[in-house]
């Protein structure tokens, strides 16, 4: 599903990713971990083509990203649900409309939008905040809206960047349960996190990065 071949990404005065080769297979649920600034977010950005690699090749759900026409990028991204580290909620839309955006972009019928958005909000236990605006939500509530927005489109790949940074351990465990349910339906999931609790005793694959380098794999 996700294949990196000798991929590197450099910023002006910084190496974010150095010569990384790895694959995540269809239906897998894997973790990326590493210190702050290790390159976790950059790696995810390469997957959803928000950044282009300076070296190497990337293939996502069968699309070779270097051969991708610019106008096809939206259609690649429609296969991917993303939990952004910085949330990226639209302040001028309420919770419902923020989550619905994923579906409306795809031109989904409004009735279906309604049922699917409410289902997704139920999954993250946020149905009571449907009409609230992001600025009036607590940090953890905002993070759950982002998760709902990522899963509502029923993507084939789910990327989550520090999805529990603002959640208490119980809620975080609940989110991981949701991820496992989704994963059980065959969706490939890749989670970048510092939180060892998330992958401890899951038996899932954990990829460890250090200042852009691949430093090992383990089972959580």
């Amino acid at each position: 599903m996700i294949h990196f071949y000798n991929v590197s990404k450099f910023y002006e005065n910084q190496t974010a990713i150095r010569n990384i080769t790895f694959s995540v297979e269809k239906g897998e649920m894997a973790f990326i971990t590493g210190k702050s600034g290790a390159g976790k977010s950059t790696l995810l950005k390469l997957i959803y083509v928000a950044e282009k690699p300076d070296e190497g090749k990337i293939s996502i759900a069968g699309w070779e990203t270097d051969k991708l026409k610019e106008s096809s990028i939206p259609f690649l991204r429609r296969n991917i649900g993303i939990v952004f580290q910085d949330f990226r909620l639209l302040d001028n839309k309420n919770v419902f409309d923020n989550v619905a955006l994923t579906l409306r972009i795809r031109g989904v019928d409004e009735n279906e939008v309604k049922t699917r958005v409410f289902d997704a909000l139920k999954m993250v236990t946020l149905r009571h905040k449907t009409g609230s605006f992001p600025k009036t939500l607590s940090g953890g509530e905002q993070q759950m809206v982002v998760i709902a927005r990522a899963i509502v489109g029923e993507p084939t790949i789910l990327l989550a960047d520090e999805p529990t940074g603002n959640l208490d351990p119980d809620t975080a465990a609940g989110i991981i349960r949701v991820f496992k349910e989704i994963n059980a339906k065959g969706i490939t999931i890749l989670i970048a996190t510092h939180n060892r609790e998330l992958f401890r005793n899951t038996g899932r694959r954990v990829i460890r990065l250090d200042t852009g380098n691949f430093v090992g794999e383990e089972a959580g």
């Binding site: 610019e70 939206p74 001028n92 994923t102 972009i105």
Partner: protein, 291 residues
Amino acid sequence: MFLSYSFRLAMQSIWREKWINLLSVLTIAAGLLIITLALFSIYNINLATKKLPEKFSIMLYLKDGLSDQDIGNITAALMKDNAVEKVKYIPKDEAIKELRGVIKDADYILEGLNENPLPASIELKLKQKYFDPSTVKRLASDIKRIKGVDEVEFGEQFLTSIHSIKTGVQTLGILLIAILSAGIIFVCYSTVKILFYRKKEEIETLKLLGATRGFIRAPFVIEGGLLGGAGGFFGMVGALAFYYGLFNRLTLTMPLFKGVVFPFEMFIFLPLVGLFLGITGAIIALGRIRF
């Protein structure tokens, strides 16, 4: 289609930022109103100068003792010229009558004269489009060569001053409209550009969620069109208010303003012009969207 959603989005965005959008609409309206008033002024000044050639004439003073045949020949020769609109023969009798009119109170001076001392003459009117100093001069020298014509007279100074008024108004008019048009397009552009700047983050997010270019553009284009259209509508309301509230009243007290024509089509098209400018501005402001 996502258009109904885009439309809803645009309406929401307009409503959410209603004050800033009201500002934009009013700016566009003011711009369109000023452009309308300028066009209106130019249109009318042009109309007024167009009437001036009617008042201008070339006078041919004829030699004494020409037969009707001779006069017919002269008239025919004159009518051949493209530039000539109308030819009017004024016999000696009429000339003296006119002179009597001019000296009014003292017309008894003319009494007791046995012979009419004034020559017969022909008054020439020119066609609208040939009304310029060079044509008139050419014509005058041509006419002088016609047999039987004694002298040719025309208000040379009047002619040149009318001509410079006309070209002056046209030049200034075009200039003014150019400046104002640039101004209004600029306002539309910057309104939408500002809208775009304001939504930069939102656009980034939409891209990352898999939105196509069309989906991203649509609400902006609709919003730009709505703002421009509303601006045009209010501009029209302003122009109509100007016409009915002020101008009609001016006409009552000042005869100078009678005969001024209002091109009503211009008003009806204002909202359409606004719509067009708004959409154009939006498209220019959005530029090329890169993923």
